[in-house]
């Protein structure tokens, strides 16, 4: 897919909460092997944080780098599966906080872990069709992991926002994208349930790998590229193993994945996952380098984006905190504190 007008990303910003719980501590509590864990540790939102507060900081950081008047935004779209309200948009709060109201479109998007890239895909279409000069898309989650479930080791918190605007102002030029979806029930959360359910190993081959590899190959075919032509490749990262296996299937060199692979340090930020990885890559990429970003959302589908970094990246990169600053700011908590912060103790 391509837009009518040339567009790109003019600002980006990420946020990760400061609290961390080690996977070995989760394993200790549930009597599992503390060595055979999916990631080293995961981020935990503080008691006063939620998807909305995380989105607000990511949005502010995006605006700092874009250097635009918030009123010039035509949309604020928040992709998440951990909305603070079941009914009432998170996006209107974010739009009000950044001073972008009232002449703006605002909405929350949902598609499990690809809700953020779904919003980004929409933002490229919205700006690329000429309906708005700029649009802000955010992927964010404070993911819910059921106590003792396999996903508790990785369900983390964080997010990243991206402002789409004209190509001539962009720090990364949009070259094309692709969306690939099927009805594949590998992970879900029913109404009024606190925690999601999943189909264990079914989340692998027919779900994550099928959608990620097909979406990537199809977009690359459209653009006349190979996945390994890119300088950086970011995959949705529910753990460390899946993105590395996807890279191998697609013939992508391991070292191209490492700069955007953040899940070993903060876990899976769900709708924020691939977008936090994209922010990490923009923190280090040089002008002229190419970036491939692939999301995955259960239910199921993948969005894929192709970018080329421009000279503007060097001007705007230091206008907001980089991802490393947030990942490096860590306060370790024990399982009891984590259980309290995440509302796992029901009285």
């Amino acid at each position: 897919m391509k837009t009518i007008k040339d567009v790109g990303i003019v600002g980006y910003g990420a946020y990760v909460p400061m609290y961390r719980i080690k996977n070995s501590d989760i394993a200790r509590v549930w009597g599992n092997d503390p060595v055979r864990v999916p990631v080293k540790e995961k981020s935990v939102p503080g008691p006063d944080e939620d998807a909305c507060t995380i989105a607000c900081e990511a949005a502010k950081n995006s605006l700092l780098r874009a250097g635009i008047d918030p009123h010039s935004l035509g949309a604020v779209w928040v992709g998440t599966e951990s909305k603070p309200y079941a009914v009432k948009p998170t996006a209107t709060i974010v739009a009000e906080v950044i001073g972008a109201t009232p002449a703006i479109n605002a909405a929350d998007w949902e598609f499990a872990c690809k809700a953020g890239t779904e919003a980004l895909q929409g933002a490229f279409g919205y700006v690329g069709s000429g309906m708005a000069p700029y649009a802000l898309a955010i992927g964010v989650d404070t993911a819910q992991g059921q106590p003792a479930d396999a996903l508790e080791y990785t369900a983390a918190a964080g997010g990243a926002g991206f402002i789409v605007g004209p190509a001539e102002e962009s720090l990364a030029h949009y070259e094309g994208s692709y969306s690939f979806v099927t009805d594949t029930p590998d992970f879900w959360r029913r109404q009024h349930e606190h925690y999601p359910k999943h189909a264990s190993r079914f989340t692998g081959t027919p779900a994550y790998f099928y959608h990620v590899t097909n979406a990537t190959r199809r977009m690359c075919d459209e653009l006349g590229k190979e996945p390994n032509d890119y300088d950086y490749v970011i995959f949705h990262q529910p753990n460390t193993k899946f993105p590395m296996a996807a890279a191998k299937m697609l013939g992508v060199d391991k070292e191209k994945v490492i700069p955007g692979l953040i899940s070993p340090y903060i876990g899976n930020t769900y709708a924020g996952s691939s977008l936090v990885g994209l922010a990490a890559v923009f923190d280090v990429a040089s002008p002229g380098e190419s970036v491939l970003c692939v999301s995955y959302g259960s239910g199921a589908g993948s969005d894929v984006f192709s970018f080329t970094v421009t000279e503007k990246i060097t001007e705007v990169r230091d206008k907001a905190p980089n991802l490393k600053s947030y990942v490096g700011r860590r306060l370790e908590i024990d399982y009891a504190t984590y259980a309290r912060y995440r509302g796992k103790i029901r009285m």
Partner: protein, 135 residues
């Protein structure tokens, strides 16, 4: 705790954006917003956006909070001297109590202030945290 939705709605922008006023006559800035300048009594005031950074003027640790704030106890409450000179009262967040000291540089962030139970509205607003170290 009874919730007053209109009251919170009226205060949203003040809580979200640290918006104050600046006197068009004498240039004094105020927080919260004023309709009459307390310095020169002028009524011509314009909106002023505070930068959101400042330093701790004084602080205390709250271990027995009022109803609705128990979810984040214990927490630090502080007087923050904003970069522009005004002093505001706010909660501190993302901080280790042992590291707090008067004069510590802080920056504003948006956080949950409190919520009216499981089904009522969630009130967001500014808190301050130690300046994020840049890496």
């Amino acid at each position: 705790m009874p919730s007053s939705v209109p009251r919170h709605w009226r205060e949203n922008i003040k809580r979200y954006r640290l918006l104050g006023t600046k006197c068009a006559s004498c240039g004094t800035i105020h927080y919260p917003r004023r309709t009459v300048c307390p310095s020169c009594k002028a009524r011509e005031l314009e909106e002023y956006q505070f930068k959101g950074s400042g330093k701790i003027y004084s602080y205390t640790i709250i271990r027995s909070p009022p109803e609705g704030y128990e979810f984040c106890k214990p927490y630090a409450a502080a007087l923050i001297e904003l970069e522009e000179g005004e002093i505001v009262t706010a909660q501190l967040t993302d901080c280790n109590f042992d590291d707090l000291e008067i004069g510590m540089p802080v920056e504003s962030v948006i956080r949950r202030m409190f919520a009216y139970g499981e089904s009522g509205i969630i009130v967001y607003g500014y808190k301050f945290r130690p300046i994020l170290p840049r890496m």
